[in-house]
């Protein structure tokens, strides 16, 4: 037996948001009487952390700590319209809507504070810790708590804002395909190292080194969650997953987590994740959508690494031990036929 080593590379990009646009998301932001802020949406958190990220975006925009923001989402009675969570659009579309709503709310908040401090709103700034002060004169300040109380009970103002984000829909030209599919793209490059058992076709992914460019890491730990989990799914797609192992035959499809194959905790590749940030012109604080892109480059990188290791190409996913072994046997048969011919 021989374990053969190989490595491969792949580079990809990925569009943020629904293909061809036309996918709106709206947001509402308002303050409570004591200066907490509610973000109201109908966007869905699939587990990627949409609620937390929207809170951080709102907090940054208004100028308060994230703990002061509560996100209420995915109730169609209360939340304004969102197209949905898919197409790497959640952070980008909802984030922009939240920024717009938060900016409007911040403006009202500063106007109320200005009345209380008897200055111009344009001279005020927030310190990010819960206070509003005159720019250049931090001692002339009012807390956001007091500002909210004043707005509600004294000034009769609603510290609130409406936000809306829509990229107009593009219609492809029927003959040329000229179109505007997306406004920003995330990027990645992955190098994978594998070892391949040339007697059984089994593959061990030893390392994956992923570089992702995602615009802006709004919360680096949550970005890491997505990218590490996505990298695992990419490996899984490359080598394991299908509902129909003998496609197009419909026989023997997996019915459970034993039959539907995904790498287990004992199959993990040593995974490195490096993030670059080139802010997107229209992204919320520059962010692009990394959630889908991060699971793509591992697949071809592994395919290429397998070729590098054993000299056979499997151009059909998943690249199972069986497909590799068949390719190895075909190659051996061809080589021995050629040897005879010479």
């Amino acid at each position: 037996m021989a374990m053969k080593h190989g490595r491969g590379v792949a580079a990809v990009n990925y569009p943020t948001g629904m293909n061809l646009g036309g996918d709106p998301t709206q947001a509402l932001v308002h303050s409570t009487p004591t200066g907490n802020f509610m973000v109201t949406l109908s966007s869905v958190d699939l587990g990627q952390g949409m609620k937390q990220i929207m809170a951080q975006i709102c907090a940054e925009t208004i100028g308060v700590p994230t703990e002061r923001v509560i996100v209420d989402t995915a109730d169609t009675d209360t939340g304004p319209h969102c197209m949905g969570t898919f197409a790497s659009r959640g952070t980008h579309r909802a984030g922009n809507a939240v920024i717009a709503a938060a900016k409007e709310a911040r403006q009202v908040m500063l106007e109320v504070a200005a009345e209380e401090l008897e200055v111009n709103a344009s001279d005020l700034d927030t310190d990010g810790a819960g206070n509003i002060h005159v720019r250049g004169a931090p001692q002339r300040s009012i807390s956001i708590f007091d500002t909210a109380l004043a707005a509600h009970f004294k000034r009769g103002r609603s510290i609130s804002g409406r936000g809306m984000f829509l990229i107009p829909r593009s219609y492809p030209d029927t003959e040329t395909g000229a179109m505007k599919p997306s406004t920003c793209y995330a990027h990645a490059c992955t190098v994978a190292e594998v070892e391949v058992d040339d007697e059984t076709g089994e593959v061990n992914v030893l390392t994956v080194k992923n570089v992702f460019e995602i615009g802006r890491a709004l919360n680096p730990k949550m970005v890491e969650q997505q990218l590490v989990g996505g990298s695992w799914m990419g490996i899984s797609h490359a080598l394991y997953e299908t509902t129909e192992p003998y496609y197009p035959s419909r026989e023997h499809g997996g019915r459970d987590f034993n039959e539907y194959l995904m790498p287990g905790p004992g199959d993990l590749a040593e995974t490195e994740v490096i993030v670059l940030e080139r802010p997107a012109a229209d992204g919320p604080y520059g962010a692009k959508g990394p959630g889908e892109m991060c699971a793509n480059p591992q697949i071809p990188a592994i395919a290429n690494a397998i070729f590098d290791a054993v000299g056979v190409r499997v151009d059909t996913l998943p690249i199972t031990p069986e497909r590799i072994l068949r390719a190895l046997k075909a190659k051996a048969a061809q080589e021995s036929a050629e040897a005879v011919a010479h």
Partner: protein, 455 residues
């Protein structure tokens, strides 16, 4: 994870207070204490369980449905057939004017895939529903089935879906979404090498740990509250409104806490029929996919077939790229016409190629309808493109990473779909990968920038 701040530092201000901070997730406390409320985490008195009777055939005509024994089964409260569904033929993307309506909520005269919903049983317990389902007698006349892209497109193939009239989706551009840029034949004629390869994939399941489902509660107000794990609240509300011919004001969707989606929960397959059940019985209804249904009935990522033909010069420049992409939609559209179109927009990948020809087909087969999944329209295309890139590099005798630098797109480059490139960063990702993986490339590639071309 490492943030490499040296790249694009001049395009970024790193002075933000909340953005960029690794704050703990507000929802994680609920997760670790088991107190996060998922849609199924509610007990309702009088809850009915919905169980679907599904087609055992890939393609068959329904001669008759006999419910007489099932209806008498103890615990059965109501049985729904196509006749109960006000607007039984629907398609999800009708909301963005992508028709025609081509799928039945419950089968009428035909089934087009093995697993298709035919009859819905509503019973007091899951067991009673299962038992009654076993007593439903459906008389099928089995029809020839089309199971692969090749079979579907072969002359004289049986028609999978009569609402389309042919086994592919007809775009305004014809039988496929097209991209035409430059002169691909001239490109091939002038190329030093030409390489044509075919790639494929099988269907892939999202496999979230929480299966697709909903619980519907009829409210005293005449409204219906639907606790759901949909990925798109208003997709679900609006489609339910159309299917049930019910004013959207009567519908209240509550969700937003989902046990994994990955694109698998953007179809609208459980809510309308459960709402209908709640309406017709006046009782709360739960319709939750079993694990087997999640694996084999819920839409997978489509199987795909891609043919890529490239013309490449000895110095590594790709001068022409021709792509034919086929998406196996299964029996119904769901999101596949969109996915095939997204695929067309993605080629030729993150590279600047002067001559490009793309045909992207959405093909119907007698298979489980496929739909969106993480990387929709792109993942399998990227696999094919990037393996092809590796083959091309070896064909011209170049290092595979250096070969990509030669072709990488930069700001201002015109893409095949005729948008100028903005915000590119492929080159920098590859530069960093070269460093991190100790994969050396020539100095000239390390000096490149996405923001401008040399010289």
């Amino acid at each position: 994870m490492e943030l490499r701040k040296t790249y694009f530092a001049d395009e970024r201000k790193d002075d933000l207070k909340e953005i960029g901070q690794p704050r703990l997730r507000s929802d994680a406390l609920g997760h670790v204490t088991g107190t996060t409320t998922f849609f199924a985490d509610r007990n309702l008195p009088g809850l009915l369980h919905l169980k679907m009777v599904r087609s055992p055939h890939h393609h068959a005509r329904i001669r008759s449905i006999d419910l007489s024994e099932a209806e008498k089964h103890p615990g059965v409260v109501r049985i729904l057939t196509a006749a109960d569904v006000p607007h039984n033929v629907y398609t999800i993307l009708i909301l963005i004017q992508v028709g025609p309506e081509d799928e039945t909520v419950l089968a009428t005269d035909k089934v087009r895939w093995k697993g298709e919903a035919v009859v819905a049983i509503l019973a007091d317990s899951e067991r009673a529903a299962q038992e009654a389902a076993a007593k439903v007698k459906v008389d099928y006349e089995v029809l020839p089935a089309v199971l692969s892209i090749e079979e579907a497109l072969a002359p004289g193939a049986p028609i999978v879906n009569e609402y389309h009239g042919q086994n592919y989706y007809r775009y305004d551009s014809g039988e496929c979404r097209k991209v035409r840029y430059g002169d691909v034949e001239a490109g091939f004629a002038g190329a030093d090498h030409i390489l044509e390869q075919t790639y494929g994939s099988g269907p892939i399941e999202h496999a979230p740990t929480e299966t697709t489902g909903c619980i519907v509660v009829p409210e005293g107000s005449g409204r219906f509250t639907c606790y759901t794990n949909t990925q798109a609240m208003f997709f679900t509300l609006d489609n339910a409104s159309i299917i049930l011919q019910m004013d959207g004001a009567k519908l209240h969707m509550v969700g937003g806490t989902v046990g994994g989606g990955f694109g698998g929960k953007v179809d609208v397959t459980v809510e309308p029929i459960a709402i209908l059940g709640a309406k017709l019985t006046g009782r709360p209804v739960s319709f939750i996919y079993s694990r087997e249904e999640e694996m084999q009935i819920s839409s997978p990522r489509a199987a795909e077939k891609l043919v890529i033909k490239d013309g490449v010069m000895k110095d590594g420049r790709i001068v022409a790229r021709y792509v034919k992409a086929y998406i196996d939609a299964g029996a119904y559209s769901r999101h596949s016409p969109y996915g095939a179109q997204k695929s067309a927009a993605h080629f030729p990948g993150p590279y600047t190629v002067p001559n490009v020809w793309v045909d992207s087909y959405c093909v119907y087969t007698n298979r489980t309808p496929s739909s969106a999944m993480r990387g929709f329209g792109v993942t399998i295309g990227d696999f094919a493109l990037e393996v092809q890139m590796d083959k091309l590099a070896r064909l011209v005798g170049m290092d595979p990473l250096e070969f990509r630098f030669v072709n990488a797109y930069r700001d201002g480059d015109m893409k095949a779909h005729r948008q100028p490139t903005e915000g590119a960063a492929l080159i920098e990702c590859m530069q960093e990968a070269s460093r991190a993986a100790r994969w050396p490339v020539a100095e000239k590639y390390l000096a490149m920038s996405s923001a401008r071309r040399e010289g």
